[in-house]
Symmetry: C2
Subunit: 199 residues, 2 copies
Amino acid sequence: MDTRTPRRRVGRAEREQQILDAALAVFSERGFQNASMDVVAERVGVTKPVLYTHFGSKDGLLLACISRARAELLEVTTTAAAAADGPEEMLRRGTRAFFDYLERQEPAWTLLYSESTVAGEALEGIRAQQTDFIAALLSTQAPDADPQQLEGWAQVIVGACERLAIWRGSNRSVTSEQATEYLMDLAWTGLARMTPVSE
Amino acid sequence: MDTRTPRRRVGRAEREQQILDAALAVFSERGFQNASMDVVAERVGVTKPVLYTHFGSKDGLLLACISRARAELLEVTTTAAAAADGPEEMLRRGTRAFFDYLERQEPAWTLLYSESTVAGEALEGIRAQQTDFIAALLSTQAPDADPQQLEGWAQVIVGACERLAIWRGSNRSVTSEQATEYLMDLAWTGLARMTPVSE
DNA sequence: GCGGTAACTTACCACGAGTAACTTACCTGC
DNA sequence: GCAGGTAAGTTACTCGTGGTAAGTTACCGC
């Protein structure tokens, strides 16, 4: 039984798991920047240098937390996609598995995706501007869509544009015209029209 | 001429612009977290407390930088869209204006979008996993698409999923099934099939 | 010239990341 | 069962940086 606090001297692997669990909790509660190493250490029941002997730095600790989640996410989505036949169902099931996984593992994905920084919050404001504008635009194209659907579509477009912009930042050979057409290919035309193997 | 350093006592509005320019440069060069207020102050040619009397905090200074860019971005995209008739052309021109603006104002968008944090870098690794996987999936659907096009499409889907996930985080009434379908609506079916006003 | 005020500086605090040097629990061989 | 080596852990610090209090000085109106 572990009713007694096991006091000192815990094995290396076990301590590492304890630390990762505590770090994930603390980081997702307070945000990475606002979380101090001392708080993580305190929650584990050790002192700060212990964290450093195991993970080297605050960044190293964060990376270790992320690595666990990363492997799981890839596994979950690929298996889901593999269980389907045909690209449409593969895309659908993989996407669905992605959302379901994030829902189950909320602390981890909060850590990853929702920036608790000021820049992140400011970005959310910009995105709200964009989604409002695009949802309004889309309502002229699909007048019978309900508001949530329109907003969902707008989120898709905004997310896609943002990602394409970052991609262009590290891949200068992509012109802004090409990026625009890639967006239009999917959002407007749809993959279903893309000379499929069979339809 | 400004060959002589204008030494002390600059007007309030003028100083604020100087500070914003310097801050934007320093933040985008070194990343927000790695940039110190002293460095920004030094580049302006004043001392740190001056920054605080003008902008209150490091976060406040960042917000002020972002606000300038935000207004411009909205203006540029809405005017571009307004110059077109019909939702398809509006979407295309607005998107194009978005990419072009980011290209012109590189330091600002680098600041905004490319996280220079460790979490950001780790995320890029995860995204690379996802885009590789999705590009492979898409190549079965569109065998005659070139590799860059496939990757562009994959970026669109990954960005869309990420954004939908964050949206769900602040909007719990959206089920994972609905999110999946919003993605499929655009990526697979395409807006063109959405009972348009005319085609 | 002569205040008065806004711009600016010096000199500091607080707090958190990271580290060096020391201490102690546990296991191992005899 | 006891010496002693080693891994686990602690204390007590440094250093960098965000933020501030209190003092100083240039400029403007009179």
